[in-house]
Symmetry: C2
Subunit: 339 residues, 2 copies
């Protein structure tokens, strides 16, 4: 089976080009959300610890079975480690044989930003220029880079209680042709924004944004609420918003929807993608994509990566290792020991 390391993926993205890789990812997500009923879906399987969570996220259609191993350990950064690490596997559904084992820390950041762009395509005003980013951790620049491929952004205001995170954010986006505004508070950052991304890490119920701070017609991409008890927005704001999720059974457990009755939901993303529900309907409504991350997104990007690695252009970027016994007689597994 193929194994793609972090180094291999960095080279792959560099060769394909960041922008092209991001566009391919978003397009693949859109295609797959558009054929929602082809997939076997379930909420992720989570094991909770006092210090974090470890999850398995499977998603499959009749051709491929994918899953991701992913953790969330908010205190890891204090020891210089990542909060979120991912590893993914893609297998042939018809035989169960594994095809690809890949790093998914970077792939998770990319697909998470891609789903933000997809949501914004259907829910944000097409003329959005001012993006506010609340929380400037590992995910934040991916969001900006992906969203500006979807929308004509000119200004990014940003806030994080960690000043060093804000510095890093500004450095990483310094060469982008964007006006960057470091802010002293959330209120300052969201003031006048057309589009707001909340990407915070605190594992508790927060109420980050007061409705009165918001301009009419704003779209909020709330992606930091992603496990039980971890939410970013209060009921007043939720009650005034047109709320879309990826997959309701999971969002009721993990997303902002934890704080709302299910009948406050407008719809699931696939309904906007396949045209069965309209997205944004006017320039003044407040829209909210309560995005917790769904296993279909991992399926999509793993298939994309496998296809790239199977092409002559990029086949040299992965390892090939014998992770499955190659047997002349498939019933003679014991021969591996005695032979």
């Amino acid at each position: 089976m193929k194994i793609l390391t972090v180094d291999g993926l960095q080279q792959l993205i560099s060769r394909v080009g960041i922008d092209a890789f991001f566009d391919l990812t978003r397009d693949r997500l859109e295609q797959d959300f558009g054929r929602w009923h082809h997939f076997q879906k379930s909420p992720r399987h989570a094991v909770h610890y006092p210090y974090g969570v470890i999850e398995l996220m499977p998603c499959a259609d009749d051709e491929f079975y994918a899953f991701k191993y992913v953790n969330g350990h908010p205190y890891n950064t204090q020891q210089g480690r990542l909060c979120v690490i991912g590893l993914g596997l893609l297998a042939d559904a018809k035989s169960g044989y594994p095809l690809l084992f890949s790093e998914m820390t970077l792939l998770t950041a990319i697909r998470t930003a891609a789903v933000a762009a997809l949501g914004a395509k259907y829910l944000a005003r097409a003329d959005c220029q001012h993006l506010a980013v609340i929380g400037n951790g590992a995910q934040s620049e991916f969001q900006v880079t992906m969203l500006r491929r979807q929308l004509p952004l000119t200004t990014v205001s940003f806030f994080d209680p960690d000043g060093r995170a804000m510095e890093k954010f500004a450095n990483n986006l310094g060469s982008a042709d964007l006006s960057l505004k470091a802010c002293d508070s959330i209120q300052d950052a969201v003031s006048g924004a057309d589009l707001i991304v909340t990407a915070t890490a605190a594992k508790q119920a927060n109420d980050l944004i007061e409705p009165k701070w918001l301009a009419p017609g704003v779209h909020i991409h709330a992606m930091g609420g992603d496990c039980p008890g971890k939410t970013e927005l209060g009921q007043r704001l939720l009650g005034q918003s047109k709320i879309v999720v990826e997959y309701l059974p999971q969002s009721l457990l993990e997303g902002e929807m934890q704080n709302m009755a299910p009948d406050n939901l407008y719809g699931e993303l696939w309904q906007l993608v396949d045209g069965s529900l309209p997205g944004r309907e006017n320039d003044t409504e407040i829209t909210l994509f309560d995005s917790v991350g769904f296993a279909l997104e991992d399926y999509s990007i793993l298939r994309l990566v496998l296809e790239l690695l199977e092409s002559v252009d990029y086949g040299d970027l992965c390892l090939t290792q014998p992770m499955v016994p190659p047997l002349a007689d498939p019933k003679n597994l014991y021969g591996l020991l005695s032979g």
Copy 2:
């Protein structure tokens, strides 16, 4: 993280010694079943296809999180492929960082045989000499090799509808100091047996053994029933047996227990191991270990393998690959793309 290929594991087992590796595995399983309440447990997550099943089997304590990817595609052998393939991952629970990704096809066969030996320790008569093996597929010789480390076996009778599987079985065990008896039927094979292993692959409800064929005091290790609708034994035999399972919530979905009310259960294996329930109580009762394979067994063998690979003697047998980004600033994931 460490990656252990099939070749690496073959070398590891060869260097440790098959018998020693098998004993270490069984002892590790016994230790872990003996501290049952330390683990977070759940039935496996299964995706079912007309042609097979793909499963994720997680199990964790406060130190380690383990899971296995495993499939069951009974028609694979017709294309010269294995029915069952496994891959496993072990991670540090406190940080979520992965430690080991390993082949688990061979490890699954070994831990599956180890749990048979553990069940037999508590449920079979200590003087068992005659073992019958029904189904001579990939798992069968592992069962024999492991069980004879637990019991004074002298005779193995065996039957499989596939004559080539029987030949392979006889060849693999030909050099063992055992009297091997190829049989023409299940009835012939189980006649006079002290211990019976059923390890068949057909994905349906079977009734392989009539109670009147059995000698008093026999122990049956039923391991082929391991998914919904796939069972090996009929209600009459089950009704006469003292039934033990690994983990009832999973066995009710997948094991012989599918055909019985839960109150027919005698107990779970851990209760025998920690002494809270007696195992076999006399020389005439029929005991039945309805073993479907539980994620704790994968946890145990993955920890054993990691410990071996961390020792100086075997550290050269695995690969070390960068599957997690090594970041100077853990919030600067984006730096991997722009750097």
